[in-house]
Symmetry: C2
Subunit: 431 residues, 2 copies
């Protein structure tokens, strides 16, 4: 048990407020008090000085493929189809389960260092290692074994069973910090019948369904040509996207589809940097938000980003739409903070997470604000337009310190970096 503690003299920012100088009290995994000014000392409470720091909720990354950190920088500036066929798929063919686990560990190190406390992860290999890494790290995670269903019916059903079993095992992890999700890859890689089966199994097991959808214009056109409907409209009608489902990307969607997503209670993971880098396009974030769809942020994999830093993602989410619409108020820093914190946590199934508020899980980070690029004033814009993941000094989940003063406490970072370099060399040699 961690003794109760106070973090004092700290600037506190979450999606709904700013306290220029205040404190939080943490006990039994929870935030038990938040206030302005300086609380009186109490016996048995440790006191941490937060001077010249910002305390904010830990960030939630609602979409990614952690093993692909090993493919970071393997191919930049190529069109999506060539990127996949000439670079990513051949590399992935040589990426075995052990390498995938190293990639996941590297991703967790990177995410933790940059202030993420809660992440989604999907990959097609055996993911026992990912569950283990996530547990060891102390972070919260929603894990899925991805499914591409091109094969024979029997093979598909086996894949589905494995994926459901894995998700169930995550959902019932002893720490309570894991969730499971059912993640058929996309409408263009899974036949509708398979999606129906996956949805039925997911519902049976009370698991949410996540799916890549409407990522590229080509995908939408081809789906329309084949089915007479867009993928989003189709999956809404088929009852596959329902309350709590997560539509990842949703770049090319119409107003009526947005209305459908809202009506059905579907969440969206907005991945602006991956969508830009792969030339997929620019998702209509301001319109998604005006439809009051719960939108969160995802980095996607390091192969199409190329970092897992949600501060970069926040900046891009806030920036790009202003330029596209030629409206400086198309997006607001405060809304983007909401997307990256409480919206993300809720979308991944973590309640009481994402605010700095009494009764909430003590999942928060500290940021060194005593740096030239964050001077002279602190507000939501500081987090979105000035801060970077490199400014994060401390990370806590359920009150437990995972990083203090830039040092990781739960992961052997040096070993992980070293293994990642070795695995990547082997991977390169095999290509």
């Amino acid at each position: 048990m961690i003794p109760p503690y106070v973090i004092a003299n700290v600037a506190i920012i979450d999606a709904v407020r700013i306290i220029p100088e205040g404190y939080i009290k943490v006990k039994d995994k929870k935030i038990v008090a938040v206030g302005e000014g300086d609380p009186p000392p109490e016996d048995g409470w440790e006191r941490i000085d937060g001077r010249k720091k910002i305390l904010m909720p830990g960030l939630a990354n609602t979409h990614g493929h952690t093993p692909m950190t090993l493919l970071r920088g393997i191919s930049d500036d190529l069109p999506l189809e060539r990127w996949l066929k000439e670079k990513i798929w051949p590399a992935e063919a040589s990426l075995d389960e052990e390498s995938a686990n190293v990639g996941t560990a590297l991703a967790i190190v990177e995410m933790m260092r940059s202030g993420t406390t809660c992440f989604a992860d999907m990959y097609h290999l055996n993911r026992e290692g990912a569950a283990l890494s996530a547990e060891e790290s102390g972070m919260k995670a929603s894990l899925a074994r991805g499914m591409i269903a091109f094969g024979a019916k029997k093979e598909q059903q086996e894949k589905l069973k494995t994926a459901i079993d894995y998700a169930k095992s995550c959902q019932t992890s002893s720490s309570g910090r894991l969730r499971g999700a059912v993640f058929p890859h996309a409408p263009y890689t899974c036949p509708l019948e398979f999606l129906r089966d996956a949805k039925a199994e997911a519902e049976e097991a009370s698991l949410p369904l996540h799916i890549h959808i409407a990522e590229t214009r080509k995908e939408v056109k081809e789906h329309e040509a084949k089915h007479g409907m867009t993928p989003v409209a189709h999956l809404l009608e088929a009852g596959i996207l329902t309350v709590g489902s997560l539509a990842v990307h949703a770049v090319h969607i119409s107003y009526s589809e947005m209305t459908g997503l809202k009506k059905n209670g579907v969440h969206v993971s907005h991945n602006p940097q991956s969508n830009l880098k792969l030339g997929s396009g620019i998702a209509p974030l301001p319109q998604l938000l005006s439809h009051r769809i719960p939108v969160s942020l995802g980095t996607d994999s390091a192969a199409s980003n190329n970092t897992l830093d949600l501060f970069d993602e926040m900046r891009q989410a806030a920036m790009v739409h202003k330029g596209v619409e030629e409206e400086a108020n198309a997006t607001h820093a405060q809304t983007v903070v909401e997307m990256a914190t409480v919206n993300g946590a809720n979308t991944l199934g973590f309640s009481n997470t994402g605010f700095i508020k009494e009764g909430y899980d003590a999942d928060f980070i500290l940021i060194d604000s005593d740096q030239a690029h964050m001077i002279p004033r602190i507000n939501h814009g500081t987090l979105v337009y000035s801060a970077s993941g490199r400014d994060v000094t401390d990370v806590f989940v359920e009150g437990r310190p995972l990083m203090r003063d830039g040092e990781l406490l739960t992961m052997d970072e040096e070993k992980i970096r070293h293994e990642a370099m070795n695995r990547s060399a082997t991977l390169a040699a095999s290509l």
Copy 2:
């Protein structure tokens, strides 16, 4: 005199090549050798170990207003006109020369920390302090006293004379590290007659002319309505934009204007983040490049960015056009590195600067690449898609170390941060 030194065991990247492990030799302000592998020890040469670092040319920021770091975060997410009229102009009215100098010092600290070795600066106040700060910092700079010419003819001529004198004094600085520029603010704040006078005086003194132009759609429309031509076409025709002139922004321009800019030898400063944040739009970078116009990168001021980190600017320059055009190869990392290094240095009047090459000025930076977000491979994409200014550990200009292991050697950073906080509090109180 700095004794000669070797930086060895370092990855070297500039706009034209990558050496995975090599060395550079520096003597008398110059790079005197670059090679692969490990050079034999030599008497009298200091040896610096560059293991797990990337050595690249220092970055050049071709547009900014350094005093405005004090206005960072004073107003985000407002449309340009309200941003200027309700927030920036009232704040600037209280920004006196001394405060401006503090803002400039803060900007130089921020730029140096994030790997910039060469910068442009324009502001309308007395800028003796900026010249002094730039000289003391050890960086290279192109400085200008900006001119808005709404006033009476006599007042305009006085402004012009002051600006020319200032630019001349920079151009002849004893260190040789300063340049001067003549910077009438924009076609919509300076009558054509004034621009002609400014251009004539600039030519007489062999000084380049810099100007904000075609930043917003509104500006272009209003100029056309008034003069029957777009601002770029107009200034090209009037002989104001000529060889070596710098067109800042150039967001809303046509193909024929690009042809004109190329024909006249005009340079462009691309400021993607400021253009996005203010809702100005998205400059046609791929088209500017395909016209072979020399394009460099600028951050603009910290009030519309909100950092002066050129790594962020590189990432945005490489990212946004891919999404807008839905083409992942719309922009290339290597081209963006060229823009941020050698193109920028040349545009600001520094020759033999911007490559890691024998005979070039020893202006370079070191980046810590032994971090999760830069593992496992190093290439141009690492600099553009993964690195941040916070990863820069060392900065050298003309062979002189300005930052070593994250510590600034020429600036009293703590004092500057402290003064900036005080000045900003005074500024806020006066609003």
